[in-house]
């Protein structure tokens, strides 16, 4: 597993985010109410936002280091991102969407890996389709497959179930658990749903108003629940 090291500060209007932790967990959960800074943090890990001060590193590879003047652009970070709203490319077919990351990174075609991911996510019957008439759950599975097939060294998931109803959530959740247990790619998982967190995350950071209130294994969720309740 990789070691993800974060120690950053960011000011966005009246909102100040400060976060520091280190983890080599398979799935790091970022948990907290909306507006607590979770999405801001993973946007920084992806390089879509830059920290005002601090370091983001994977193992010894520094992606951001404001003191050393390092800021690796998003496309060179090899960090996959599954957005809440899927963001499939509408002018491409499902297959072309899945293949996009491989083409952009000029990777060799790996049919075995493609088949493995397609089977893992059960999207084989969708490959020839266009993206316009897919259900929310299907879109999210394809977004997941698209990110995985670009061979990231870390996968960010920003409330991947947030836009789905309960039935669809129950449809996707098992895939995420399977992904954690079968795929070798570590994940950072953002959610405000503690049930989801318990099922997926191995380490959890509790966010509150731009700070990390607690960091530990999934058992800290019940403490948080007790505190809130």
């Amino acid at each position: 597993m990789i070691m993800l090291r974060i120690d950053i500060e960011k000011q966005l209007g009246g909102f100040a985010l400060r976060a520091a932790f280190e983890s080599d967990a398979r799935v790091i959960g970022l948990f907290g109410p909306s507006g607590s800074g979770k999405t801001t943090l993973i946007n920084m890990i992806a390089g879509l936002l830059n920290p005002d001060r601090g370091v983001i590193a994977i193992d010894d590879d520094r992606l951001d280091d404001t003191e050393a003047g390092i800021c690796v652009p998003t496309y060179l970070r090899r960090i996959g991102y599954v957005f809440q709203d899927a963001r499939l490319f509408p002018h491409l077919s499902v297959m072309q969407n899945l293949d996009y990351g491989r083409r952009m990174n000029r990777l060799a075609r790996d049919a075995a890996e493609e088949t493995r991911i397609v089977n893992l996510l059960d999207i084989g019957h969708l490959l020839a389709r266009r993206t316009g008439k897919l259900s929310g759950g299907e879109r999210q599975r394809i977004a997941l497959g698209r990110a995985l097939l670009s061979r990231p060294r870390l996968l960010l998931l920003d409330e991947p179930l947030g836009a789905l109803d309960e039935a669809r959530k129950a449809e996707i959740l098992p895939y995420l658990v399977r992904l954690r247990d079968e795929a070798e790619v570590p994940m950072v998982y953002v959610s405000h749903d503690d049930e989801e967190m318990r099922q997926v995350a191995t380490d959890v950071a509790l966010f509150a108003r731009g700070r990390i209130a607690a960091f530990g294994d999934a058992s800290i969720l019940s403490q948080a629940g007790a505190r809130q309740g």
């Binding site: 496309y75 957005f83 963001r87 509408p90 002018h91 952009m104 316009g132």
Partner: protein, 198 residues
């Protein structure tokens, strides 16, 4: 150019914007005269280019330049608007998948802006075909060299017995315009369908 104006912020952007759009608002004759002053045999740029054997004044190349300058704002404007309308979240997604900025442009932004590109090409083409004022001022109206279709029709209407010839050219230009209009409509509709993932 359209991308520059749509997505970048830089010093002098409003100046560039104004220069690009100027031929749209200036009387065409003024544009033509300005072209003559700069690209003419004694113009600053014209003199310099003449050393390389490139001459614009009173040649078909000059007619092409005049049409290009006049058509450019009409070409740029719709393209720029449709680039602005492309969802930047999709461009971010492409970057997280490893696409460098120029590859994002060609694989995501441009295909999604296609309807605007088609519309821009259509408008630019129409303007270039109909261009009269700037061309006639810059390179005059020399049959077989710098005569645009509009200039030819105008000449024929000024000549006794020119009516039949003018009529022929009128029909030709109606056909060209209709074909271009239909083609752009078909292309734009096809592109629009693709945009919605159907």
């Amino acid at each position: 150019m359209a991308w520059l104006l749509a997505r970048r912020d830089f010093w002098g952007k409003s100046v560039l914007d104004a220069v690009v759009h100027l031929p749209l608002v200036l009387p065409p004759v003024v544009t033509g005269y300005l072209l003559l002053l700069t690209f003419g045999r004694r113009g600053a740029v014209g003199q310099w280019l003449a050393e390389f054997g490139i001459v614009f004044a009173f040649r078909w190349t000059g007619a092409a330049l005049a049409c290009g300058v006049m058509a450019f704002p009409l070409l740029v404007r719709p393209i720029r608007l449709s680039i602005e309308a492309v969802d930047q979240r999709l461009e971010q997604a492409a970057a997280t998948l490893g696409a460098a900025p120029w590859r994002v442009f060609f694989s995501i932004t441009l295909p999604l802006a296609l309807p605007g590109v088609v519309a821009g090409m259509m408008l630019g083409f129409a303007k270039a075909i109909g261009e009269f004022g700037a061309t006639i001022t810059f390179v005059s109206n020399i049959p077989g060299e710098t005569q645009t279709i509009s200039a030819a029709i105008y000449t024929l209407t000024q000549t006794p017995d020119g009516d039949a010839g003018a009529m022929r050219l009128v029909i030709v230009s109606i056909i060209i315009s209709t074909v271009a209009l239909v083609a752009s409509e078909v292309l734009a509709r096809r592109a629009g369908r693709r945009l919605h993932g159907l």
